[in-house]
């Protein structure tokens, strides 16, 4: 009996510690921006809005959020458009070695991460005159996300019945009309998933923009976050916490919106 009680107590304690590990940073993020003098501990906030005032006055904070939006939405659009076309073609056309190609792409793109490819990517960008250009950054980020996006979308495409497309074909629809009228609407949940995934990826990407954008006015929020220090070289917790909160709000909103509209599905399949 004692052993049982002790076991329960031990188990509950473990769960509490694990939960605290994940909740305390979130609590801090929610409370610190509203505290006039935040530290690393979680305290009851005194509900001041001075920190928000300060971040609004920061010359790069709000523009950087705009930059983040631009980069992530731009990349998501490009990735969704290209991945949809590629996945459709790969799903419908029989190519020798198709699956091998897909797995190789996926494998290479996950092994060769941004860090490993940093130097050649930088050089490539310099050669192409795409350094310090948001378009260049979007292209490079898209390139990194495309293999996984194609892989995921192909699964959606595979699970849509061919008879829909054949039916449209018999009525005389061209391949592009079939994609626009039939395929895209059918795999819309898949496209939404890929778009959200791409946005979240770019939103949190620090290395690539840090590397390829030197103009501070073009930097996204992830990079600007890194510059929020006091003159003394200490982390400026007032600005950092407030900016951190602002930084996370758009992504949370996007998740809620897309989840409500489409529901998240990482597999294909049509309810018939």
């Amino acid at each position: 009996m004692t052993r049982f009680v002790l076991g329960r107590i031990g188990f509950s304690t473990l769960i509490a510690v694990l939960l605290a590990f994940f909740t305390i940073p979130l609590l801090w993020l929610a409370s610190a921006p509203l505290t006039s003098d935040p530290s690393y501990e979680v305290r009851m906030p005194d509900f001041t809005f001075d920190n928000f005032q300060a971040i609004l006055e920061h010359p790069y904070a709000l523009p950087s959020l705009y930059n983040s939006l631009l980069l992530s939405i731009g990349t998501a659009l490009l990735v969704v458009a290209l991945a949809a076309l590629a996945a459709y073609a790969l799903s419908r056309v029989r190519l020798p070695g198709r699956d091998a190609l897909l797995y190789a792409l996926l494998l290479l793109s996950s092994i060769i991460t941004g860090t490993a490819a940093m130097v050649p990517l930088f050089q490539l960008a310099v050669e192409l005159g795409l350094i310090d250009s948001q378009l260049g950054l979007i292209l490079i980020l898209s390139g990194g996300l495309l293999p996984a996006a194609i892989f995921m979308l192909k699964d959606f495409m595979d699970s849509t019945p061919k008879s829909y497309e054949e039916s449209a074909r018999v009525f005389g629809a061209s391949p592009l009309q079939i994609v626009a009228h039939v395929v895209v609407p059918l795999v819309r949940p898949g496209l939404a998933t890929i778009a959200v995934w791409a946005v979240a990826n770019v939103w949190g990407n620090f290395l690539m923009p840090y590397l390829l954008l030197s103009d501070v006015e073009k930097q996204p929020a992830a990079v600007i976050m890194y510059t929020l220090y006091t003159e003394g070289g200490q982390a400026n917790l007032r600005l950092l916490s407030t900016f951190g909160l602002l930084y996370s709000v758009p992504v949370v909103l996007m998740y809620l919106f897309v989840s409500k509209k489409y529901g998240f599905r990482f597999h294909g399949g049509i309810k018939r």
Binding site: P161, S163, Y164, E166, S167, A168, R169, V170, F171, G172, A173, S174, Q177, H181, V182, P185, L186, R188, I270, K271, R272
Partner: protein, 360 residues
């Protein structure tokens, strides 16, 4: 409206599977034509090759007076209903029915008006705002029909149009389809694996096996005079009795009994020849005693099984270890274990030599 003509049509799949083997077939304008066969016989491939969804390896498809063998499906002026109906799940009934007109760049108001007209004809007017997922199987089928009607194509192709409906609805849909096809007068080819469906609906039908057409004819011809033992065994809700027989002058020796040579084969058989004697259970008259004074021979045996078919019974007799079946009207069915006689109708029985019908 147009006739469909197939000339030595051949389809070989990559890997060497011959799905269609030099088929010749003419389907006249306005005919309701059934392609019947067991699964894997090539009937769906044939339909898809007519539609252009499969490219022919050899031969030609002619619709109207136009050779469309190398024309894309959209350019063939045909319309197809798929087995799963292929209604677009993200469009409502109006948009589904109007889709072919959208491809033809008909203005939105006009195509919605025309979709409404066609749908009203099929009794769908109160469902126009529904999505396919909100419709019953029968309603979905009618939407699919409305959609092909909206194309005003020269020929319709139906792939197993009734197989997704439940048994009761299937009978209704059968009558409905036949009536609709008659009213529209559009050349229609449909694929089915259900012989009853083909017999009930088609003006003419082709029975296929392994990429070859084994018989073409009206349902009555195919039912009464199957051209070979394959068709004989495939057609009919109860399979035909196919019994080994030896010719003995004017009679055939079947399972130890003597039956007269059927009218269709009279004078065409050599004495002592080994043949197959075929008679449908429906044309086999069962009697507990041999008919007196009858010149017709009968097969004497013992009743093994009696199956209820509703208004009639299927009686299985054991005739010297050979199974013979006969259909008996209700009320006069025997008990298991009774002795009984099956007398084949001389004008309906058939003789097959090497699997092919012996006939003039």
């Amino acid at each position: 409206m147009a006739a469909i003509e197939l000339r030595r049509l051949t389809k070989v799949y990559p890997g060497g599977v011959k799905a269609l083997d030099a088929l010749d077939l003419v389907i006249p304008d306005g005919e309701f034509f059934a392609l019947l066969g067991p699964s894997g016989c090539g009937k769906t491939t044939l339909l898809r090759t007519i539609a252009g969804l499969e490219t022919a390896t050899g031969g030609a498809v002619v619709i109207g007076d136009r050779d469309v063998t190398s024309v894309q499906p959209g350019g063939r002026d045909i319309a197809m209903v798929f087995q799963d109906y292929a209604l677009f799940p993200h469009m409502d009934v109006t948009d589904n029915v109007a889709y072919p007109l959208r491809i033809k760049k008909v203005a939105k108001a006009e195509r919605h008006r025309r979709a409404g007209e066609v749908a009203a004809r099929l009794g769908l007017e109160h469902l126009m705002d529904r999505r396919p997922g909100q419709l019953s199987g029968g309603q979905q089928q009618r939407v699919a029909l409305a959609r092909v009607m909206a194309t005003q194509a020269q020929a319709f192709l139906f792939d197993e149009p009734l197989s997704n409906l439940d048994a009761r609805l299937r009978l209704e849909a059968r009558t409905f389809l036949k009536k609709l096809q008659r009213e529209l007068g559009v050349t229609t080819v449909f694929v089915t694996h259900d012989q009853a469906e083909a017999l009930a609906m088609a003006d003419r039908m082709a029975v296929m096996e392994a990429g070859v057409i084994r018989q073409i004819g009206t349902p009555a011809e195919v039912f009464q005079r199957p051209a070979n033992t394959f068709v004989a065994g495939f057609i009919g809700s109860t399979p035909m009795n196919l019994l080994d027989a030896v010719v003995r002058g004017d009679t055939l020796e079947v399972a130890g009994s003597a039956v007269p040579v059927p009218d269709s084969a009279a004078g065409l058989l050599a004495d002592g020849e080994k043949v197959v004697y075929g008679v449908r259970p429906e044309y086999n008259a069962y009697a507990p005693k041999p008919a007196e004074g009858s010149s017709e021979g009968a097969l004497a045996g013992k009743v093994v099984i009696v199956e209820n078919l509703g208004a009639s019974h299927l009686v299985t007799l054991d005739v010297n270890d050979v199974t013979v079946q006969a259909v008996v009207p209700e009320g006069s069915e025997p008990a298991v274990g009774d002795d009984g006689f099956a007398a084949p109708r001389r004008d309906r029985a058939l003789v097959y030599r090497d699997g092919e019908l012996v006939t003039r």
